[in-house]
């Protein structure tokens, strides 16, 4: 068979497999009352615990609430699902199928992305219904929700690529990154008010750009501009995906190898 024809067929097969994996993940892991409640309530309470008592009008808090909801919902599922699938060996089922490793990663991120997109719309609706939040730029809002959801889904997948069968190991590591991010990304303290070193650090946080983009879509306020926000989010997505692949390849045999060493020892 012609090589390019085969590559095209394989690409089609990979994309179909990614979609099948995403659908399966949504059915098994995402549409569960517990997951949905956790996805909404955890960021909501976390946000309220820091935002309540501030003098800012409630409507101005909505972009931050959307950003934090997307961050937590999209980055949490991968680290829960992948180690669990490693433990019950269903991840090996995916690895043994005639599909590329990219399609597995794409499928896994796609599931987290769809879940997060759905969850992210909830605080937006709360804002529209109760706090008179207005969408000033629908395109920027769609870009903000989709780019942020996909970016943070890949962040979760990147952490889940480390070879462990215990979701707790990954969540611990992930929280070391996620929790500081919410303080330096302009959610509670405007970036302009941060000290100089804080502003430099903020520039390295994808949450900064996600929040800036959503804020632009709802309040027309922006620090970097929607185009730069979108480009940087795409850049972070690419970096996280690339690192996911690298880590997965490096540690592909990590879990079984460790077990085997113990067994042989």
């Amino acid at each position: 068979m012609n090589k390019s024809k085969f590559s095209l067929m394989q690409l089609r097969a990979d994309l179909k497999a990614s979609w099948a994996i995403a659908k399966k993940d949504v059915r098994i892991y995402y549409i569960k009352p517990g997951t949905l409640m956790f996805g909404i309530l955890f960021p909501l309470f976390m946000f309220l615990s820091f935002a309540v008592g501030k003098n800012a009008p409630a409507a101005t808090l909505i972009p931050g609430l959307i950003s934090i909801t997307i961050l937590f919902s999209s980055s949490s599922i991968g680290p829960m699902v992948i180690p669990t699938e490693r433990r019950v060996k269903t991840f090996e089922r995916l690895q043994s199928a005639p599909i590329s490793f990219y399609s597995i990663i794409l499928g896994k991120t796609l599931g987290g992305f769809l879940f997060s997109l759905f969850i992210g719309v909830i605080p937006l609706l709360i804002g529209i219904v109760w706090f008179e939040t207005q969408i000033t730029s629908p395109i920027a809002l769609i870009a903000g929700l989709t780019l942020a959801s996909y970016c943070f889904a890949t962040l979760g997948i990147m952490f889940a690529s480390f070879p462990t069968e215990n979701p707790g190991d990954i969540m611990m590591l992930l929280n070391f990154v996620r929790l500081p991010l919410i303080f330096i990304s302009g959610l509670y303290i405007p970036i302009e008010s941060l000290p100089e070193w804080g502003q430099v650090v903020a520039a390295f946080s994808p949450l900064t750009y996600a929040n800036d983009l959503v804020r632009y879509a709802l309040e027309v306020k922006t620090l970097y501009g929607p185009v730069l926000d979108s480009i940087v989010l795409l850049f972070f997505t690419g970096v996280f995906l690339l690192l996911s692949m690298r880590i997965q390849r490096k540690f592909r045999e990590g879990v079984s190898m460790r077990k085997r060493r113990v067994k042989q020892g």
Binding site: Q10, A13, K16, A17, A20, I21, K24, R27, I28, V88, K89, T90, E92, R93, L94, Q95, S96, A97, P98, I99, S100, R252, E253, S256, M257, R260, R261, K263, Q264
Partner: protein, 317 residues
Amino acid sequence: MVNAIEAIGLAKNYGDVLAVNHINFEVKKGEIFGFLGPNGAGKTTTIRMLTSLTKPSDGTAKIFGHDIQRETLVAKRYMGIVPEISNIYDDLSAWDNLIFTGELYQVNKPERERRAKELLDMFGLYDRRNEKAKGFSKGMKRRLTISMGLINNPQLLFLDEPTSGLDVQSALIIKDVVRDLNQKSVTIFLTTHNIEEANVTCDRVAIIHKGKIAAIDTPEKLKKTIQSVQSVEVAFDKTSPKILKELEKILHVNEVRKEGDKFRLYTHDPASVLEGLWEYAQENNLKPISLSTLGPSLEDVFVRLTELDVKTEKGEF
């Protein structure tokens, strides 16, 4: 004709441990090939390398002529894989598990639905197709795992311990399906601890020990290599613990094993042992209720090839 599997100097290191030591073998198209070995011998590592789940440290393997490392995806299209642990999705129904696997293997929708129905029927699961797999027994889960391995009509099926720890009904269904598949020219690579299962199922077997192929041939030819290991099996009308020790004293008896209510006396001279046995029975007022002479079994070959280490391990304890 191209071989279904060709292992070429396949090796795998785990740190300092050489789990598989440069093994070479071929599996012919349409063959049922048994891969036997004690725990830790390298069976699962070999299967993982052949299915591309583990990267070899050295050497390679070809699946229907396609290099598993360079043409991984093409090689995988020929395979169905049934791992030792039933890796099904507990939260999906039996039907959805099969449909999802069909999607992964790019089986088109009408075909995967037809195939799912056929397989569920074949494995006696069709009536429970809409139930979540988490409610299934171990045997049902195993049957579902095998049916998932067959959804893409593979030309080569890897079966890792297919009947280990199963109920009789499930084990019988699986054995029937394996025979049926073989009649349809599907090549089967089978690892098992059950030597008798390999003896009656496999066209050829390889015995792997400490990461090396210790022997590879048809079961009957392997048995012929140890013709000196013959045995006499006897059951008496009554039994006592001292019989085992006393039978060992009979001339030309090399070893005695108690197997249920029977004693198996290993020898290179069954005729002399029969005479000695007759005398022993008369002297001790025992009546033999069954008596037979047996050639070496595949298990004897297996024990012979791995015996040295069993003794060593016992010594260490």
